[in-house]
């Protein structure tokens, strides 16, 4: 069991926020920290890793205390059994793929561990390459393998898929799930992609302005916010044109442009460039498989 109860004042882009979190992770759980950027997700990850010091609180894992502000305990990252995958991967540019992994060994004689991970992550063909010559997905696999060399209890992933294309993303998600199960890891991942959260996690912690506003299974956390049978999208208004007694409003949703009809009352206060919510009640939506 991982006990994680910390607080810290953060000076973010939109003013000061008070990060205040009290949560327990069960061993073997796959948990997602979900929320807007600037909500404090990465800071929470860094606190677990020992890279950022909380103002106060306590972090304990399986009875071993990593941080306790009252007892003045603060184990350095070196002594916490974590594997951290950075958002920018943080591979060492001067070392080959194999050397990057071997660097994490406490004892050079345990080279078998490096072979094992190179094998599992299918990095054999890349092991003599320098990071600069790898693609995003390959770098991610190397970073993941490197984080596992020390057999961490806790695997921390900071938006691991944000810079990858859809296909690579799906493949890596499967890979992470497999590693999580095979190595019996407790995994904490930072994400702001709902699909990813559904697919991967046992539990999601929704972070809003420094606090956990919801905590539960992904389906419970997300569906609660969106009443069933209702579609809801966020979009940007591109154009507003009068048509007889109503208005045709063109909205950009994701990368699709849609035109909807709005009444004079609806249009009041909305200008071109505004962000709007587009909602519809649908009792019988059609589902079509995309080839």
């Amino acid at each position: 069991m991982i006990e994680f109860s910390v607080s810290k004042r953060l000076h973010g882009a939109d003013g000061e926020i008070n990060l205040n979190v009290d949560v327990a992770l069960a061993e073997g759980e796959f948990v997602t920290l979900f929320g807007q950027s600037g909500a404090g997700k990465t800071t929470l990850l860094r606190m677990l890793a020992g890279l950022t010091v909380p103002d106060c609180g306590r972090i304990a894992i399986g009875g071993e205390v990593w941080f306790d502000s009252e007892q003045h305990i603060d184990l350095p990252p070196q002594r916490r059994e974590i594997g951290l995958v950075f958002q920018d991967y943080a591979l060492f540019p001067n070392m080959t793929v194999r050397q990057n992994l071997a660097f994490a060994l406490a004892d050079k004689k345990q080279g078998g561990r490096v072979d094992e991970l190179i094998d599992i992550m299918q990095l054999g063909a890349l092991q003599q390459r320098l990071p600069a010559t790898l693609s995003g997905g390959q770098k991610q696999r190397v970073a993941l393998a490197r984080a596992l060399v020390r057999r961490p209890k806790l695997l921390l992933l900071d938006e691991p898929f944000s810079a990858l294309d859809a296909e690579t993303r799906i493949r890596l998600q499967d890979e992470i799930l497999r590693l999580h199960r095979n190595f019996g890891l407790t995994t904490l991942i930072v994400s702001h992609d709902q699909g990813e959260v559904y697919k991967l996690s046992d539990r999601v912690l929704l972070i809003e302005r420094g606090r956990i506003s919801r905590n539960g299974r992904p389906a419970a956390v997300f569906n609660d916010r969106q009443v069933s049978g209702k579609f809801q999208f966020i979009g940007e208004v591109l154009a507003i044109e009068p048509e007889e007694v109503v208005y045709a409003v063109t909205v950009l949703v994701g990368n699709q442009v849609v035109t909807v009809i709005a009444t004079t009352e609806e249009i009041a206060g909305i200008a071109i460039g505004d962000r709007v919510t587009l909602m519809a009640k649908a009792f019988n939506p059609m589902l079509l498989k995309i080839k």
Binding site: L51, L84, F92, R150
Partner: protein
Amino acid sequence: MNFDWQPLWLTFKLATITTLILLVLGVPLAYWLSFSRVRFKSVLEALVAMPLVLPPSVLGFYLLLAFSPQHAFGHFLETVFDVRLLFTFQGLVTGSVIFSLPFMVQPVQSGFEALPASLAEAAATLGKTRWQTFLRVLLPNIRPALLTGTVLAFAHTIGEFGVVLMIGGNIPGATQVASLAIYNEVESLHYGAAHLYALILFALSFTILLSVYTLNKRLLRTL
């Protein structure tokens, strides 16, 4: 023409020793300056950069006073350590280290600052100490900056004139470096010898800088 190789030899000996000392002192100082967040850091940075803007004669004048056995510091060195820095080669080395300090520290410091913070953090999460991280992750990844600093410090020491004149005393065989020898030869109207010294310094400095720029391009390609 009576040509003395001694000043040239002395110049390169001075530049080599100065550069080696600067690598030992300057690189840790640059590392500290790039990561430290203490309040008086700006004061230190300004002090390190002073030789860039100060006339060498000003620095030389103060060093002359400091090294003089008639003053506290020089007296202390002479009575406690039996070391005399005024008009000696050791004094020249000390002066050159101070004078060339920014040429080593500044490129290396920007090298460290340009590295993503996540590299050192990743090394820490992989269980490595600060020293292991410094040697195996940070230093190898600032090779171009290290090369630039080394060469600039070396070349700048070769080019010194004002400071060595003030604290060296222009003593042949002990403190008379090539730049001073040129001055002497011109003073005594020996233009031939002055030409030769000048040409050698010019050619050598050019070769050094040229090889650095070529090498640096190659290093950057492998990173």
